[in-house]
């Protein structure tokens, strides 16, 4: 086995971390605008959403429209815990992730055996049910009125609600999420998941436990979606059923398709597009969904693998330059 070159494998993550934790806040501090900081926060939360969904849809090949349900479960869990029981943020975010993961696990078991279209339909039902439940179960969720006055971010007694403090909290959670998803996809575990995606029968014949893998991926994805929901609750300080409609699932799905299914950089790119494009067209009014419909359509037509899809020009270029190759490890799927 050849020695792995130090440079690309460790340098890239370090650069990214430096960018997110040092460069961006630095630039934001210079602009002095609360609006841009808020935008950066939103972008990072969206990165968590796209990365988690990409693990499920891109790497595992499970087309799921249920994202918004787990996001919402996380948000509502935190909001309810915080407003009713005064529980602190750190407990809330873990609870949100855990509750979303638990519900995800329980739902995944029955639906995972379904053929792909049925599976997608089931996830559609999950998202639709979530919205109906949250809208009508007023005792728990206050229904259409939503939950206001959610306590802002704080930890160990320190108030972390300031714009930069919040940014760092979100950035940390985002880094953890992306790091874990990256680890899963760039490992033999990821190979196994992709084998199931490419040819499930063949993977099974090779001793891979396909069902178990799919349920695991679904659960992990739900966990991070729930955690993102908690971040949303504690930064937006108000949540309502309106914020968790089916369209949100579809928008995030669009983002990862455009960014490139199955690749972590693709998910990040998708998140950026999802947040920044509406900002760019802000002058034209509330055209978010329309713009996205067009972007989705054009992207499917012209860039079937998305911007940073698993097999794309950029990857071939990177390979030529010797970047990101794993030497002897040879994990070819990116």
């Amino acid at each position: 086995m050849s020695a792995r070159p130090f440079a690309p494998r460790v340098a890239v993550p370090l650069l990214l971390l430096a960018f997110v934790f040092v460069v961006v806040p630095g630039v934001l501090a210079l602009t002095g605008s609360g609006y841009y900081i808020r935008l950066a926060q939103l972008t990072l939360i969206t990165v968590i959403l796209t990365t988690s969904l990409n693990l499920l849809v891109g790497t595992a090949g499970l087309l799921s429209i249920a994202m918004v349900a787990f996001y919402g479960i996380g948000a509502y869990t935190s909001a309810i815990l915080a407003t009713r029981y005064g529980s602190p943020f750190l407990v809330n975010i873990l609870a949100s992730g855990a509750v979303a993961a638990a519900i995800g696990f329980l739902l995944a078991l029955p639906i995972m055996r379904l053929v792909s279209i049925f599976f997608a339909v089931a996830t559609l039902g999950i998202a639709a049910s979530f919205h109906t439940i949250v809208l009508n179960w007023s005792d728990l969720t206050r229904g259409a009125m939503g939950i206001p006055r959610i306590p802002p971010l704080s930890a160990f007694g320190y108030d972390l609600s300031g714009p930069f403090a919040s940014y760092y909290v979100i950035a940390v959670v985002c880094a953890v999420a992306v790091g874990i998803v990256h680890r899963l996809t760039h490992s033999y575990y990821g190979n196994a998941v992709r084998a199931v995606r490419e040819d499930e029968d063949c993977a099974r014949a090779m001793g891979i436990g396909a069902l178990r893998l799919k349920v695991e991926v679904f659960t992990v994805s739900a966990f991070f979606l729930g955690a993102a929901g908690s971040l949303l609750a504690h930064t937006a300080l108000y949540i309502s059923p309106d914020m968790f409609q089916l369209i949100e699932s579809i928008l995030v799905l669009t983002a990862i398709v455009v960014g490139g299914l199955g690749s972590v950089p693709g998910a990040v790119a998708g998140a950026f597009i999802l947040v920044l494009v509406p900002e760019a067209v802000r002058g034209l009014g509330d055209l978010r969904a329309l713009a996205f419909g067009c972007v989705l359509f054009l992207s499917i037509l012209l860039l079937p693998r998305g911007l940073f899809g698993e097999v794309s020009a950029l990857r071939l270029i990177r390979r030529q330059l010797g970047l990101g190759r794993d030497g002897g490890r040879g994990l070819g799927w990116r």
């Binding site: 575990y189 190979n191 084998a195 490419e198 014949a205 090779m206 001793g207 436990g209 040879g330 994990l331």
Partner: protein, 254 residues
């Protein structure tokens, strides 16, 4: 009395009125290389699919190391130590040769979520999978192609890739589904030598094949099917001279 390594016991597989496999029984002893042949439509592929767990038998059972194999899910069959190849070559075309073979190794060592996430636990497995994969690549002569995309390999090499992937599962029993299909005579001879070598190294092999030359050349024993029934089960020389076998073949092909 030791139970046979692989026991095919009264297996029947019907499709509506068609008896694709009709009461076939035979045994494969450990470290034997048994070839199953027969004219077109004899039921070889159906029998293969029943043995490998892809199809349930209408009647009868398949036992491996004394325990029933029928009724097990495909992945359970693989984990018992029974690996198979596919006649129509199902390698994963868009990824490297290395990654293809690694799938078999992953099947062998398992894929644990926690061990992947928690650094301390996972490293060993990862290393072992890598080592096993390289080992198999060397054994099958694919080490030089490790970083190539499987889809770009020439057809003959892809055959070896398919076998390599199955070998990475470290199986006790290897099921080969028409391995010589599509190969020219030189390639077939080379493949025959390879399969024979695998058996010499201790593997038990059951092979379903159309090419008489390959089967007669490598097998310890040959089972002949015709119209779903077993008509011969003996050493290659005996089968070659068996009138029933000749009749079956003359009746349908050269």
């Amino acid at each position: 009395m030791a139970s046979a390594f692989l026991e095919i016991d009264g297996v029947c597989r019907h499709f509506g009125g068609l008896r694709a496999v009709d009461d076939v029984s035979f045994r494969v002893a450990e470290n034997e290389l048994v070839g199953v042949i027969g004219p077109n439509g004899a039921g070889k592929t159906t029998l293969f699919n029943v043995v490998s767990g892809a199809l349930p038998p209408t009647r009868g059972a398949v036992r491996f190391e004394g325990r029933p194999l029928t009724g097990l899910a495909t992945s359970a069959v693989a984990r018992r130590g029974v690996a198979r190849t596919f006649q129509n070559l199902r390698v994963f075309p868009d990824i490297t040769v290395f990654d293809n073979v690694s799938v078999g190794a992953i099947g062998h060592y398992g894929h644990s979520l926690w061990r992947t996430l928690l650094p301390g636990l996972g490293r060993d497995d990862s290393r072992r999978i890598t080592e096993l994969t390289w080992q198999i690549l060397e054994r099958t002569g694919l080490a030089d192609h490790a970083q190539e995309l499987a889809g770009n390999l020439p057809y003959g090499r892809r055959k070896y890739l398919e076998i390599a992937r199955a070998l990475a599962l470290r199986p006790k029993l290897l099921l080969l589904d028409e391995p010589a299909a599509g190969l020219n005579s030189t390639e077939t001879v080379e493949l025959a030598r390879f399969i024979r070598a695998l058996r010499d190294e201790g593997l038990t092999i059951l092979l379903v094949e159309h090419d008489m030359g390959l089967v007669m050349g490598v097998s310890d024993r040959v089972v002949v099917l015709d119209s779903g029934r077993k008509i011969a089960d003996a050493a290659p020389d005996a089968v070659r001279r068996d009138p029933a076998v000749l009749a079956a073949y003359l009746g349908s092909e050269a």
